[in-house]
Symmetry: C2
Subunit: 105 residues, 2 copies
């Protein structure tokens, strides 16, 4: 799996409506919140909720292909992080505004 190449859109190619769609799901929003601090987390770490692995993979793919997250193979697992810099450059303040609050999925 780790040798697999993940598709990541270029920073210039990010579109607003795709990003907003990626963030329009409670599960994916929870993932982004868990990555808010800038740390990298594995898919397993993000599985806190009662979500099957394959479902989580699906959500992570949508986040990745929208340009919200970056997936990096590291040994046996995949480390996922927010593309905070790219997002900030393209849509300043957007991510912070979305993650500023606590609840209200």
């Amino acid at each position: 799996m780790s040798s697999r190449k993940f598709f990541h859109p270029e920073a210039d190619a990010l579109t607003l409506h795709r990003i907003l769609f990626a963030l329009s799901d409670p599960t994916r929003l929870a993932v982004v919140r868990a990555l808010k601090d800038g740390a990298e987390r594995s898919s397993g770490d993000l599985l806190a909720e009662s979500v099957p692995r394959s479902t989580m993979t699906h959500h992570l793919k949508i986040l990745r292909e929208a340009g919200v997250t970056r997936t990096r193979p590291e040994g046996m697992r995949c480390l996922i992080s927010l593309r905070h810099t790219d997002l900030e450059a393209r849509f300043p303040g957007l991510l912070d505004a979305i993650l500023a609050h606590g609840r209200s999925d």
Copy 2:
């Protein structure tokens, strides 16, 4: 039509993922941009793009039920405006961050 009662969610009931979903479509994003200045516009005014009436009604319903816009009957037409105050109170900076840029749908 004007005597019809439109459902508008309470300001407290707005959920982030529903708002983001409402904004995750290029047509709806264009509508919100057209309302950015705070003015009220009719559904017909928003029909600038080559979109059938019924399709526009559908999009306006999604925006309204997500709490992004408010629809007010006014004589023969419906006036639509952004719920800027409610949105700002619940998710500060969100709308501005989304509308800050120009392009990139």
